[in-house]
């Protein structure tokens, strides 16, 4: 039998298994789900084993033991995390991983996102930058107002109105309300994107079934 045909039949069957969730949780849905997750995990493990151990670690121990050896040692120590009585042995590896990961993430977030976004917001109303925006000054105003009001919307307390300070409370309340409008709009757009993405995946799966059916039918 043609292996491609087997693949098409298996793919079609598994697709219907997953779609059978419409009638509720059933063995066919569970079978398809477990097959998918098991295959994905197994393939990922195999990929890691091949890419990290076979292609990187083992050759590196022979050619560059001074640089690869400590990394391999840390990796071996990390295996002790699987044994509760000796899990402390892997703490050194975990500390190294978390420390390096946090340093890289914080550095990237500060230099690559926070500073750049704050600077972009500050330049939104600059005359030299307004021309680059799609909607000109309106776009810049929208960026500044949206950023400031959204940040202020997370103000959950305000000073008690005393005497002539009532105007400040009203202003803060108005800005907070505008910020919440931006937040709700952003959440609505994100939900629309998720819905569109899910619909796109459904369309792609239906396209696969149509192509498979046409291929089997010889159309």
């Amino acid at each position: 039998m043609n292996p491609e045909l087997v693949g098409v039949i298996a793919g079609t069957a598994l697709t219907f298994f997953i779609l059978s969730y419409l009638v509720g949780d059933n063995p066919l849905y569970r079978l398809g789900l477990h097959l998918f997750i098991g295959t994905l995990v197994g393939y990922s493990f195999g990929t890691v084993l091949r890419e990290v151990v076979v292609r990187t670690a083992l050759p590196g121990l022979v050619s560059r033991p001074a640089s690869v050896g400590p990394a391999v040692l840390l990796g071996v120590l990390l295996l002790f995390k699987g044994f509760p009585r000796h899990a402390f042995v892997g703490n050194l590896s975990m500390a190294y991983l978390i420390g390096v990961g946090a340093a890289v993430a914080v550095g990237g977030a500060l230099a690559g996102m926070l500073a750049a976004q704050v600077a972009a917001t500050g330049r939104a109303l600059a005359p030299a930058s307004v021309g680059n925006l799609r909607f000109g000054l309106a776009d810049g105003v929208m960026i500044v107002v949206g950023t400031v009001s959204t940040l202020l919307s997370f103000t959950f307390v305000r000073p008690k109105a005393q005497g002539g300070q009532e105007w400040w409370g009203r202003l803060l309340g108005g800005v907070t309300w505008v910020g919440r409008l931006f937040l709700v709009s952003a959440l609505g757009i994100a939900f629309a994107g998720a819905l569109t993405s899910s619909l796109s995946i459904l369309i792609g799966r239906m396209q696969y079934l149509v192509d498979a059916f046409c291929g089997l039918a010889g159309w």
Partner: protein
């Protein structure tokens, strides 16, 4: 630590006042009768004045040995069983006879001499020598406690001076008989044995008057005796109401049973008067509910309690406080639930030594209406039948029966719409024009960037998606990757997901006619660290970075690390799903410049295909996507209408 009952502040052990609010703290140790210092319970001597805190229990030794064991002035006489100790010592010495230790012989002789001297001396001499010291020389607390010191020594073997005064002569046989009788009848036989063995004639005298005994001692004796169970005692006039209220008393059969258990009751005429009264005292509260025996004394008892001036401070703190709860309503015993068989309310635990600040805490607990309501609710919940939850589940199931119908309705509508739009070109040969490729997208900018690449440029492609997203992203990324391959630029593909390289290999296998047009660098573990390492360790900086992903986290990692390492020197473009569009918008800002351009979803991918003049998967699926959107909007409107009508009907009904 001592916790303040007023403010809860933790104070140092031994503190008398709260360091926070200044309120007096409850005493948790033994208060020194000399200086009032609170000492730990285990202390024998006061830490401040070295006064003895615990009573003497052994006889003094000769030759000055054991002077520290001599009773000190100020030792509370009521708590010192000195008479008992001396009596036991004397009895032990007489029992040993010849051959005993010298100091026992001396002690016996001294005891005999003291007895003979007392017999020879007339009453006037005794009274003269027994005169207590001048009251003005005594401290207040000692004056309140009664005779101490020398008087007690003088009455050694015969009880305290203030108890043995005007006492009658009792024979040893009578004492022994009384001891046996009391030992059998008393609920606290140690008390009676101690009194008799110590020769406390005052305790055995037949006509012990209350005037001869300090009030507080008489009250304590009555209180102690009254709390125990003794048959045969007739209640006094003051106790009659209590007796009636407690509804106790022995029947004839019970009395007979008591005699069978305790033996024949001694003759009243052979016993001292006070002992006869004790024996005639009814067994109060034997059969009464536990609440009565645990309750504080009634008001009439409090009125008869000794005055404050008659009691030392340390004993005043032992005085029970609070109101009587004899008239508290007696609830019926619990018949079911966790509290089945229990009756009444649990009284508050009384501390060992109460302080005035704890008066409120020791007040009787009166359940409020709220507490009663909660108790009734708890009782109803405990008594609730187990079948009710099943009924509730059944109702919930019947109420949610429309949910599968809704699911099937939505699924059928979407499937019919999508399949109809996908099958329509196959049936008619024409593509419906429900929508046009996206206008106003970033596709033209991205097309210009890719179109500007030369054959010698190096493009790094990050393939960060897996099989679940392949149905969408393959169609979106295909036109861009085809453009890259056609441009002749070198393509290096890397992924931070284990399942990314096979996705790239499969898609690039469809696009490129040869695998020499691209390089698969494989999987790089470490997420953000791998991205940073990969970008920093590149032998030659890539001309362009293309991110193909559906996950915001992956996009964020690549954009941030590229901006941190190269700033705006490295152009970054992205191809993602429709889900990613709100995430990439801030990076697409012209002032930020972190993303030069991006393509999201089938609509913008179809726009890219239109720029290239080709019809790909994105264009073919665009109509199905548009029809699906229309179907979703229709379902939402229909659902809102049905829900509104159902809600109105439900409110109307």
């Amino acid at each position: 630590m001592i916790y303040c009952p007023n403010c809860g502040t933790a104070n140092r052990k031994g503190s008398r006042f709260c360091s926070e609010c200044g309120k007096s703290l409850p005493s948790t140790g033994t208060r020194c009768p000399m200086c009032g210092t609170i000492n730990p319970v285990s202390n024998v001597y006061c830490e401040a004045c070295t006064a003895r805190l615990s009573p003497m229990t052994s006889a003094p030794e000769e030759n000055g040995k054991g002077d520290e064991d001599q009773p000190l002035r100020g030792t509370p006489s009521s708590t010192v069983p000195l008479d008992e100790a001396e009596a036991e010592q004397t009895a032990r010495a007489s029992a040993e006879g010849p051959g005993s230790e010298d100091w026992l012989e001396a002690l016996r002789e001294s005891a005999d001499e003291a007895g003979e001297r007392e017999e020879d001396e007339d009453d006037g001499q005794i009274e003269e020598s027994a005169q207590p010291p001048n009251q003005a020389d005594l401290p207040d607390w000692l004056r309140d406690m009664g005779p101490v010191g020398g008087e007690r020594h003088r009455s050694s073997g015969r009880g305290a001076f203030w108890l043995s005064e005007d006492s009658g002569e009792e024979t040893a046989s009578e004492e022994g008989q009384a001891e046996n009788e009391v030992g059998e009848r008393e609920d606290s036989p140690d008390e009676g044995r101690r009194r008799v063995a110590s020769g406390d004639e005052g305790a055995l005298r037949p006509d012990g008057e209350a005037a001869d005994v300090p009030d507080w001692v008489a009250d304590l004796r009555e209180r102690t005796d009254g709390a125990s169970t003794r048959p045969g005692r007739e209640p006094s006039a003051e106790e009659e109401p209590l007796k009636e209220e407690a509804e106790v008393g022995h029947s004839q059969a019970e009395q007979a049973q008591d005699e069978e258990i305790f033996g024949e009751r001694p003759k009243l005429e052979e016993s001292p008067r006070w002992l006869s009264e004790l024996m005639e005292e009814p067994p109060a509260d034997r059969d009464a509910p536990s609440i009565s025996t645990e309750a504080p004394p009634a008001d009439n008892e409090l009125k008869e309690s000794p005055r404050s001036a008659d009691m030392p401070d340390w004993m005043q703190q032992l005085r029970p406080r609070g109101e009587a709860r004899r008239d508290a309503p007696r609830d019926a015993p619990e018949t079911e639930g966790l509290l089945r068989g229990l009756q009444g309310l649990i009284p508050p635990a009384s501390p060992g030594i109460e302080s005035p600040s704890l008066d409120r805490a020791s007040s009787p607990v009166v359940p409020s209406e709220v507490i009663r309501a909660r108790a009734e609710l708890l009782q109803s919940l405990l008594g609730h039948s187990a079948s009710s939850p099943r009924l509730a589940v059944g109702k919930e199931r019947s109420g949610s029966a429309a949910r599968p119908v809704e699911q099937w309705l939505v699924a059928i509508v979407l499937l019919v719409t999508v399949l109809g739009m996908l099958l329509f070109p196959l049936l008619t040969g024409e593509t419906p024009q429900l929508t046009q490729p996206g206008g106003g997208s970033e596709a033209p900018q991205l097309y210009e960037i890719v179109n500007a690449l030369d054959s010698g440029d190096e493009v790094l492609v990050a393939f960060d998606y897996g099989p679940p997203e392949a149905d969408e992203l393959n169609g979106v990324a295909q036109p861009v990757l085809e453009h890259l391959v056609d441009s002749g630029a070198g393509i290096s593909i890397v992924s931070t997901r284990p399942d990314g390289p096979p996705m790239a290999a499969a898609l690039m296998g469809e696009i490129a006619d040869s695998s020499d047009r691209y390089r698969l660098l494989g999987y790089r573990p470490g997420a953000g660290t791998a991205v940073s390492q990969l970008l920093a360790a590149a032998d030659e900086r890539p001309t362009l970075l293309l991110i193909v992903t559906t996950r915001p986290g992956a996009l964020q990692r690549w954009v941030e690390q590229a901006s941190a390492l190269y700033g705006d020197q490295l152009p970054v473009i992205a191809v993602g799903s429709a889900l990613l569009q709100p995430i990439t918008s801030p990076y697409l800002d012209a002032n930020a410049g972190q993303l030069r351009a991006a393509v999201h979803g089938f609509r913008e991918a179809a726009s890219y295909e239109a720029l290239r003049g080709a019809v790909g998967e994105a264009t073919q699926r665009l109509d199905a996507l548009a029809a699906g959107h229309i179907a979703i909007v229709a379902l939402m409107i229909a659902g809102a209408v049905v829900h509104g009508l159902g809600g109105a009907g439900g409110r109307g009904s």
